[in-house]
């Protein structure tokens, strides 16, 4: 039994009496794509915030590669290999696509307290950034201003930046949000390719994508995980069907 890369136990986040995340436990094995699905308002994004370190949990623990990361903030988790992408696109609009990725590389490439040499000319940073961009098929857009990309391309960039951090585990928060049919097909193909090198925790609404990509699926309803298993197991689970999938006609 391989040690899970990400081990979450009894994670809880409440606002007053409202438990947004209610006693969530899950294991993510290395190399798998673990999807988290659930109806709107289930608390999926809050869970991502907690896992990525931008939101402190009330109780519970999280371990990454055996190390306790419960008390660590976002920047520290990134340095340990756990990075996220955002549901609402959050890139550096005024910088080029290449610089967006290069910054992520810079964060793990020695000190950034260097004051005199122009960072944009550092070939090592740029090469690694280009590699990440190539992986998401954005290398031909490298010199464009990030703000000028199409919506789908920006979603690709989100993933590229997460890749460029050198993380082992990617938390992808609704990467397909707001994308049309063609754009999402590109992103799904990309994620399938990512599985060969990375562990992925994917939060998504798009059931077609989830069932095409996921090795394991967890279902989150009102902050509680009501089922975890293979996609088939989850699809057939009666509780899941009534709570969630039954309402989704388009599959």
């Amino acid at each position: 039994m391989t040690t899970p890369l990400l081990e979450v136990r009894n994670l809880r986040k409440s606002y007053g009496a409202l438990a947004v995340t209610d006693d969530v436990s899950l294991d993510v094995a290395p190399g798998v794509l673990h999807a988290i699905i659930g109806p709107n308002g289930a608390g999926k994004t809050t869970l991502i915030h907690q896992l990525s370190g931008s939101l402190r949990s009330n109780s519970g623990t999280a371990h990454f590669a055996g190390e306790d990361i419960t008390r660590l903030g976002m920047a520290e988790r990134v340095h340990r290999g756990l990075a996220r992408s955002f549901q609402i696109t959050s890139i550096l609009d005024g910088f080029t696509v290449l610089e967006n990725a290069a910054m992520a590389v810079q964060a793990r490439s020695g000190s950034s307290f260097r004051f005199f040499t122009p960072a944009a000319r550092e070939t090592r940073l740029n090469d690694e950034a280009m590699a990440a961009l190539a992986r998401v098929r954005l290398d031909d857009r490298a010199d464009r201003r990030a703000g000028s990309l199409s919506h789908g391309e920006k979603r690709q960039l989100e993933i590229a930046i997460a890749l460029a951090t050198g993380a082992r585990l990617l938390l992808l928060d609704e990467p397909l949000a707001g994308t049309g049919h063609e754009e999402s097909a590109v992103l799904v193909a990309l994620m399938r390719e990512l599985k060969s090198t990375h562990t992925v925790v994917l939060v998504e609404h798009d059931m077609e994508a989830v069932f095409a990509l996921a090795d394991r699926v967890s279902v989150l309803v009102y902050g509680r995980l009501i089922a975890t298993g293979t996609p088939e197991e989850v699809r057939l689970d009666p509780e899941v069907r009534s709570a969630y999938l039954g309402e989704e006609e388009a599959a």
């Binding site: 809050t46 370190g53 939101l55 402190r56 903030g73 920047a75 955002f86 005024g94 950034s112 307290f113």
Partner: protein, 340 residues
């Protein structure tokens, strides 16, 4: 020390699309503008000699000194997105370094400048470390309060003039020689430092450090998400800016041959912000242009009316309500469009 854990509501607010101030001059445009300004400023002594107007040289020196101060504030405000309302305190600290050392027999400008840099940097380090624990409205108010603290400290030092200030017996010396007694030498000394600071900050802004600073300004959450905690970078920028402003104070003390707490009031800090924003923040050259324009405008308005502050205030309010981007934006629009 908080490591970026914040509640989800704050996270959501940070993702909001807020109008970000963009430098509107492209890199080439900025270089040209800088060239023009430096040429103009550098040749003012020639003009002063031609017109036989020594006061023009005094004015040129003042413009240069405040250009240095505004430049340093641009690092903090335009590149760091920190609205610091206590920046004038550093100018005052630098000026008092000169006065206090001179009163105690140390008149060498290099030593005085070293002291000014040290004092300003330490003050920036301590107050910056505390201020940067806060953000938004709190940050502005706390920097304002720290500036006031420095002001009151100086006012209380009756040995050095207190509220009335202290007159310097003579200007600082350089390696024992009183070359700075010449207005021309003093001007070119300050001008040289301005050019040095400009070139240095330009490099800094393009460096790894500068990139982190700019990225944090544009999207703090994103920078944290790739592994950059903002605090150390912002604090470093704050300290560097404070030190540079301290050097401006050294020149100011020499130019006026007088030092008083009036150099470090919050109204002065406000004027510095106006200079930077007026000129176009986040462009470096804009800060220099803004300082020059503001001081010239002040002088010009004062000639018209005893109540020139009223007109300045009205102009300021109108400018805020009806423009974006300051002088740099205005010039860029004149020359046919923005480059990003």
């Amino acid at each position: 020390m908080s490591t970026g854990l914040s509640d989800a509501a704050a996270t959501a607010r940070q993702i909001d699309i807020r109008p970000v101030r963009r430098p509107l001059l492209g890199r080439q445009g900025a270089s040209v503008a800088a060239g023009v300004i430096f040429a103009g400023l550098g040749l003012l002594p020639v003009l002063a000699w031609a017109l036989d107007d020594p006061f023009l040289l005094v004015t040129a020196t003042r413009l240069t000194i405040f250009a240095i101060a505004a430049l340093s504030l641009d690092l903090v405000l335009g590149y760091g997105a920190m609205v610091s309302f206590g920046h004038a305190a550093f100018i005052g600290l630098g000026a008092y370094a000169v006065a206090i050392l001179a009163a105690n027999g140390i008149e060498d400008i290099l030593l005085q400048t070293l002291a000014a840099i040290l004092v300003s940097a330490i003050f920036a380090l301590i107050t910056g470390a505390i201020s940067l624990r806060t953000k938004g409205v709190y940050f502005i108010m706390i920097t304002l309060a720290f500036g006031q603290m420095a002001y009151f400290f100086m006012v209380s030092l009756s040995a050095y003039g207190g509220d009335d200030g202290i007159t310097l017996a003579n200007r600082s010396t350089l390696f024992g020689a009183d070359v700075l007694e010449s207005d021309l030498v003093l001007f070119y000394g300050a001008f040289g430092f301005l050019v040095l600071a400009f070139v240095g900050l330009r490099a800094l802004v393009a460096s790894r450090f500068g990139r982190v600073l700019r990225g944090t300004r544009d999207n703090r959450l994103r920078m944290q998400a790739i592994g950059f905690a903002p605090f150390p970078y912002q604090l470093t920028a704050y300290v560097i800016a404070g030190a540079i402003a301290g050097v401006a104070g050294v020149f100011l003390a020499n130019q006026a041959e007088f030092v008083s707490p009036a150099y470090m009031t919050w109204q002065r800090s406000g004027e510095l912000i106006v200079m930077v924003v007026f000129g176009g923040m986040g462009t470096l050259v804009g800060a220099i242009a803004g300082a020059i324009a503001f001081l010239l405008l002040e002088d010009w308005l004062a000639q018209f009316s005893e109540h020139w502050k009223l007109w300045l205030g009205i102009l300021l309010v109108l400018l805020v309500l009806f423009t974006r981007g300051g002088i740099a934006g205005f010039v860029s629009r004149l020359s046919g469009g923005a480059r990003s």
